[in-house]
């Protein structure tokens, strides 16, 4: 079956426990996810949703696997835009592998269709989010406040 996937990897100088907490703590998340946060109990079978700063539910689904601080799998369906919602479920896998001085974080997002508007839409956001997460964990602050930095002082 046709499938669309992206795999994003970043190495963060932190511990798997801190990174896991950064990925699952709603308040911390807002700092690197442009005001967005996830709501979940982070246990297999529990519901999951991605909520914007003004309370809109952008994506929803459930936790398929949760193995702190190593592996998290989320069944992920977009909710906001009809054409993306129509594509159905995607699967987002986050893997944390400790190395000598850093943790390798791999994010794989897959949907069983090709091409996929959902994958195209989410793939653009992840590099910015991961880059923010890395600098927040390593230096205590983020570089990007706005996901579209070209729109300066309009």
């Amino acid at each position: 079956m046709a499938r669309s996937t992206f795999v994003y990897v970043t190495y963060i100088r932190t511990t798997p426990e801190r990174l896991w907490s950064a990925l699952t703590d709603a308040e911390y998340m807002k700092q690197y996810w442009f005001g967005m946060h996830c709501e979940s109990q982070w246990k297999a079978g529990s519901s999951w949703k991605l909520v914007s700063g003004d309370g809109q539910i952008f994506d929803a689904g459930e936790i398929v696997e949760a193995e702190p601080p190593r592996r998290l799998v989320i069944r992920w369906q977009h909710q906001n835009k009809p054409e993306l919602k129509a594509e159905g479920d995607s699967l987002c896998t986050m893997e944390l592998e400790p190395g000598e001085s850093s943790v390798k974080l791999s994010i794989t997002h897959t949907i069983e269709r090709d091409p996929s508007k959902l994958i195209a839409a989410v793939s653009g956001g992840w590099p910015k989010i991961l880059s923010n997460l890395k600098s927040l964990l390593e230096s205590g602050s983020t570089v990007l406040q706005d996901p579209y930095p070209t729109a300066v002082s309009r």
Binding site: T5, V9, Y11, S102, L130
Partner: protein
Amino acid sequence: MAERHDTDMLFRALADPSRRRLLDLLHAHDGRTLNELCEHLDMTRQGVTQHLDLLEAANLIATVRRGREKLHFLNPVPLQEIYERWIAKFEKPRLKALSDLKRQLEKANG
């Protein structure tokens, strides 16, 4: 320093036309095997493998095993970091100048 080492690896990996071509090929169609990538380059299989290893060491590509195949994916995260560190801060003043100019002109028209 680990950070300087990472950045050196990244720029070294980008400083080669065949490796940039490989990134473009993956950008056009992600998740390709070594064989698929070899078809597009006039180079030995061994040569392509070496370039891919260097790109992976610089974290510009990620690989996933699927059965007997190894699939290669473009990893844009380090490019985003270059953008923030080496491009955004230099281009911001110019963008601001442009948007100030636009505002001035529009005010004059209004």
